[in-house]
């Protein structure tokens, strides 16, 4: 897949008292993701072209994608498509990159959500709301052993914008 046309729409950086290996493990395994990511189980086949899935607690696929770049424990790029009918057809593919760097005794984790076309702010509000919650919780889990309990619903403005575009949401 050619990703040269994708431009960052959301960038979020967080520093974590951990190692690059542990951050990588937390991002790519269900054992960790279930704790910090609303109970979702991440299943990643860690090679280019491998499958990437985030499964809801009921076993259904919530996010489906493919591994585009895989350089453990430094960089992982995946396609990240929420499993709502017509979403990819109308919005194109969503690309997510995690960059992991040592920063002194800590780790700098940068999340980049990119798209190959301009995306409305109302639709991006989902990622702008979700990523800080997910990554704040991941940081707490790695530093204190306890993830955060952050209950949230998708933003109304995002749901309204998706509906207007003919994208069905649950």
């Amino acid at each position: 897949m050619d990703i040269s046309q994708f431009k960052p729409a959301i960038v979020y950086t967080i520093y974590i008292a951990s190692t690059p290996e542990k951050v990588w493990q937390a991002l790519t395994t269900a054992e960790f993701s279930r704790k910090y990511f609303s109970g979702f189980a991440v299943e990643a086949e860690l090679k280019v072209g491998g499958a990437f899935v985030a499964r809801a607690p009921d076993g259904s696929v919530h996010i489906g994608g493919e591994v585009i770049e895989c350089d453990p424990p430094k960089k992982l790029t995946i396609t990240w498509n929420v499993n709502w009918p017509a979403l990819v057809e109308k919005l194109g593919v969503t690309l997510v990159t995690y960059e992991i760097e040592q920063a002194g005794d800590a780790v700098k984790l940068t999340l980049i959500q990119a798209h190959d076309r301009p995306i409305d702010d109302d639709i991006l509000s989902g990622g702008r709301q979700g990523w800080p919650a997910i990554l704040s919780s991941l940081k707490s889990l790695l530093e204190t052993g306890e993830a955060l309990t952050i209950k949230m619903e998708p933003p109304q403005r995002m749901l309204a914008a998706l509906k207007k575009m003919g994208i069905a949401t649950p």
Binding site: Y15, G104, K108, R128, A133, S136, K139, E143, T144, L148
Partner: protein, 154 residues
């Protein structure tokens, strides 16, 4: 063109009162902000200053102070590189969120193509991450300033 501003949200397992203290007292800021002292009486209209290694690096005025919910101050950097830029504005909003606090930082009122905006966009994530660590684990982060790769800062 999008508005020249930086917004950062984080969730912290603490109370709004403890977070407010951490945002307004040097005994805390020195731990999570590379030894920076944060100086003000925190009354609307009173001066605000950051002091690092005995030198005042940034100054401003308190615009809003509603403990433990909202804090806002203007911000001018004293260094040669940035002092020609107009003052920007920092606002912290603290919202209880279940057992957590949702902290939203907005740093805005920059000129288009502001160099200051590039610098603070790299600085705030490290400062806010360290603040969260300090409040949750008791241990602030040890991230060297150089690791932020801010132009002109080593």
């Amino acid at each position: 063109m999008s508005k020249p501003e930086f917004v950062y949200v984080t969730y912290i397992e603490t109370t709004p009162e403890k977070l407010w203290e951490a945002l307004t007292k040097s005994e805390f800021s020195e731990r999570y902000w590379w030894g920076t002292k944060i100086l003000s009486t925190w009354k609307v209209g009173s001066p605000f200053a950051l002091e690092w290694r005995g030198t005042v690096t940034d100054t401003g005025v308190i615009v809003e102070a509603d403990p433990p919910r909202r804090l806002s101050y203007t911000w001018s950097n004293a260094s040669e590189e940035f002092r020609n830029e107009r003052p920007s504005r920092v606002t912290f909003v603290l919202e209880p969120y279940g057992k957590l606090v949702k902290l939203t930082l907005t740093h805005e009122d920059f000129e288009q193509d502001s160099k200051m905006l590039q610098g603070i966009s790299k600085g705030w994530p490290a400062i806010m991450s360290s603040l969260k660590s300090m409040l949750e684990s008791g241990q602030a982060l040890d991230v060297p300033l150089a690791a932020l790769k801010i132009e002109g800062v080593e």
